[in-house]
């Protein structure tokens, strides 16, 4: 054991009460940081899972044509300038879905893709009329590309598969319509055609904006109802690593000349809200750690005032300035280390406890208990913040101690 560490340990042992207050501060700060991050990211991850489960990592949508002629502009004096923007002309939907999907499937990062025809329609039950979004799906492909199977809360997918005029309703929409599995509902397309469908299942994604509007029917039936016999609105792409969706979307856009949107782009607004909440929680809770750091600053500063003679005698015995500094830095680091270990344990316990708290959330999304996300990054960040705060708090007193001139102290010590 190094001499500064040996002396630091002994100083701490004889200053237990004042050190304990700082230790409690660091422990609570680290624990609260971990717990709040687990909660905020828990909701964020739930939202991301919902987005991916409902609409995939990438949506390949409208075809476009780049208008190259727009890039060249005649300036003054006959100078021709080239603009960085490439104006596009968009054409609704994907007109040749089979060909597009063949290309998409060639990417190794793609697990599955599924064509969807989506449009507005009116839905009518015995109780009321509502506006909904009709999604025509290829059930087999949809089950591979989304979490539709897991989202079923009532009914039977095999019944839907064998029922050409079957419909799956979003849970909130079904509730509003008073429709249950086995009931008949009517769908009226914008063109005016009305057809009856039997409810084969209720679907809940957790995203209320989806669950209050969606009605799934078979793709062929949708194409017939909506008067679009060959086209689809978009293709859902499921990826092995959804984190790389922006890169795939850019590549697909370039390759297919179809607009391709990653889930990060589609959910950007909500993701930014989640991030803002997470950062805000981190800043607020970090204040506890900073206060504890300030406590350590005070403890060490008072200790140095109390120990000037000991510092002088240590210097006279051959302890270097760095040794003196290390004695006080070690004390801070030991408090940070103990606080981090205790804080991580307490943080894990609090996170687990919070995750068991029943909570009925209905609104932006649906959940029945507090959502938490277990991540080593939360623990690492909390420990880094704790050590940084304590290091800064310990550095200035320790530097002051190292700069003390022993002969000045000895001269003033009653000689």
């Amino acid at each position: 054991m190094s001499p500064p560490l040996y002396i630091a340990l002994r100083f701490i042992r004889h200053r237990q009460r004042s050190i304990l207050i700082s230790l409690v501060g660091i422990t609570l700060g680290v624990a609260f940081f971990i717990c709040t991050q687990a909660q905020t990211q828990g909701f964020e991850q739930f939202y991301i899972r919902t987005v991916l489960g409902a609409s995939g990592a990438v949506l390949v949508q409208d075809r476009f044509q780049t208008r190259y002629s727009g890039m060249l502009e005649h300036g003054t004096n006959g100078v021709v300038s080239v603009s960085g923007q490439k104006p596009r002309k968009y054409y609704d939907g994907v007109s040749d879905p089979d060909s597009v999907m063949r290309t998409i499937r060639e990417f190794s990062s793609v697990i599955a893709c599924s064509p969807v025809l989506e449009d507005n329609a009116s839905i009518k039950s015995d109780f009321r009329d509502e506006v909904c979004r009709v999604l025509g799906i290829d059930l087999t492909a949809q089950l591979l590309a989304t979490d539709l199977r897991a989202q079923m809360t009532d009914g039977d997918l095999s019944v839907f598969r064998n029922a050409p005029t079957g419909v799956l309703l979003g849970s909130i929409l079904a509730n509003k319509m008073g429709a249950k599995v086995g009931d008949l509902v009517s769908l009226m397309a914008a063109g005016g055609e009305t057809r009856s469908f039997r409810v084969c299942g209720i679907v809940q994604t957790g995203d209320n904006l989806i669950d209050e509007r969606r009605a799934y029917i078979h793709l062929r039936e949708a194409q017939s109802l909506l008067g679009k016999p060959a086209a689809v609105s978009y293709i859902i792409v499921k990826m092995r690593d959804p984190g790389r969706a922006p890169q795939l979307a850019a590549r697909l856009e370039e390759l297919l000349q179809h607009r391709a949107r990653s889930w990060q782009e589609r959910a950007r607004g909500n993701l930014q809200i989640f991030r803002a909440i997470r950062v805000s929680a981190a800043i607020t809770v970090s204040a506890i750690i900073l206060l504890a750091g300030f406590g350590i600053f005070n403890v060490l500063t008072l200790m140095i005032i109390d120990k000037v003679r000991e510092i002088a005698i240590l210097r006279s015995m051959g302890y270097q300035r760095g040794d003196i500094s290390a004695i006080f830095l070690w004390q801070g680091m030991l408090v940070a280390a103990a606080g981090s270990v205790l804080g991580c344990g307490l943080g894990a316990f609090l996170t687990y406890t919070v995750s068991r708290v029943p909570m009925h959330i209905r609104g932006f999304f649906a959940a029945d208990h507090f959502l938490v996300y277990w991540s080593g990054a939360h623990y690492f960040s909390a420990v880094v913040i704790a050590f940084t705060a304590v290091l800064v708090a310990s550095y200035f007193p320790s530097r002051r101690a190292a700069r003390l001139v022993p002969v000045s102290i000895l001269r003033g010590a009653g000689q």
């Binding site: 001499p3 100083f11 240590l314 051959g318 300035r321 040794d323 001269r411």
Partner: protein
Amino acid sequence: MNLPLVCAGLERQLGENESRVRVLRGVSLEIPAGSVHAIVGPSGCGKSTLLYLLGLLDEPDGGQVWIGGRETSGLTDRELTDRRNELIGFVFQFHFLMHEFTAEENVMIPMRRQGRLGPGAMRARAGALLETVGLADKRARLSRHLSGGEQQRVAIARALANDPLIVLADEPTGNLDIANSERVFGLLTELVKREKKALVLATHNPLIAQASDWVHEMQDGAFTRTYSNLK
């Protein structure tokens, strides 16, 4: 032959601007091994300042200090600190023991910095030194639970911990009663002579001055008279 401690023409001024005072005026000394030198004089005559310069705790404005035959001027703070650890032991009027440590641990503190001995060897040496100063039975006692005389004896053992060439003592008995003063001084001189070290001490005590080998009378920053008590 290299003398353990030599200084020549030491000058030191303290204070700022108009209040600057010339504390030492060209002080020179030669201290052979196994000898005890007492510096006597009134308060403020420069005794402590001279000891701090000899102990490399302060830097002179002029003159040189040689320790173990090596000149010390121009050395960095790190080098001076290393020299103190290796070659010099200090005893102060107010012992300055560290209260969080036992008597034995206090004696081991300089050894830990030097890092030459393992834990067992350090403990054995500290025990031997405490036995020499008559505190073997109190080695495990926290220093704050020792009497003033005992604390000063621990400080002597600590000064000798790294087997220094020189022991510098600034009023080592100034805070002790007569019986303890005699005991502490007796111990210091006995150890210094037995181990062939050099002892320089500043004192107001005429009995201690008489018992020293050499006496240097000091006034206004300069030696006014030097004489030997050796017969």
